[in-house]
Assembly symmetry: C2
Amino acid sequence: MRWSDLEDEACSVARTVSVIGDRWTLLILRDCFLRVRRFEDFQERLGITRPLLASRLRKLVKDFVLAKVPYQQRPLRYEYRLTEKGRDLYPVIMSIVHWGDVHMAGKKGRPLLHQHLVCGKTFDPVMVCSACGEPLDPRQVHVHRGPGAAGSRNLPPDEQRRPRLAHQR
Amino acid sequence: MRWSDLEDEACSVARTVSVIGDRWTLLILRDCFLRVRRFEDFQERLGITRPLLASRLRKLVKDFVLAKVPYQQRPLRYEYRLTEKGRDLYPVIMSIVHWGDVHMAGKKGRPLLHQHLVCGKTFDPVMVCSACGEPLDPRQVHVHRGPGAAGSRNLPPDEQRRPRLAHQR
DNA sequence: TTGACAGGTTTGAAAAATGAACTGACTATC
DNA sequence: GATAGTCAGTTCATTTTTCAAACCTGTCAA
């Protein structure tokens, strides 16, 4: 399977991964949420090579995650800003940051702290159920096929179980 | 910058991306949360090449995201199970799934539906503030340097602003 | 007119992914 | 007891990506 084929998969992870499933893209998006907007700034902060940065930004613009908007004329210069679609990636980035804070932080602790301007406190992001508000545990979630399910390839295996290890019976 | 250098960066996104920032790894993890555990099943469901699957599983085991446990003797066979560290990636996967559901779903709607066994309802994942419980908006969050911050490279740019476009003054 | 700045593109070498076939330990069936 | 099948990988040659350094373009300031 080629990467570009992922867009056509009947799986939301595959389709999302076709947009952001790339190490540099995730780092670029992190910087976008830190209000970095210009080519040179991304390049210097990330240490990414210029051709790769150009290609990643081009793809993010094509996918409407970033918008390329002029910030001056003469010489015409552009900056890259998150669209609403791009801003909706905030939970993805925040959950990645949080996992890194918990499991990958060095001895000195986490590199950045987040302050919620609504309540004023330093916080961690928590993922909850939209229906009851309780934090989510993967063992308390069942998955069913939705209207967009195509074939059986991406269903959970207990809905398409074929006999396994028949010789063990 | 090499990918392996990312682990040493003073940025939680970079450190996390060094573990999961790969298209196949994210798809493997999606399947792990759907209770897929065996080499052949991953290979068939994902269409990943076998050498790549082997290398990704090896890395996830090395990073303690998955554990390789025997499920039978004679012939000795192993399966891959999420560790607690791996299960903590649930918000990452769920936020990716949700973004795909909202922004990348086809005309027929989302491929999978999630049911919360605690409340019984079909739900979406929502990311909230651990302090006040309100949903997070990136514009309502300020970032400060934490104890693990090293140098200024990964700080938000407003804390290290240098003069820009001096000739425009 | 010389140099600097912002935002890229070009080019050749190095690294990674792909696809197909193969290995090895074991079992089940003819 | 020969043959086929299962599962979890590895090997190897080919194609694709990525990397690093240098180069290009338009504009401005000294």
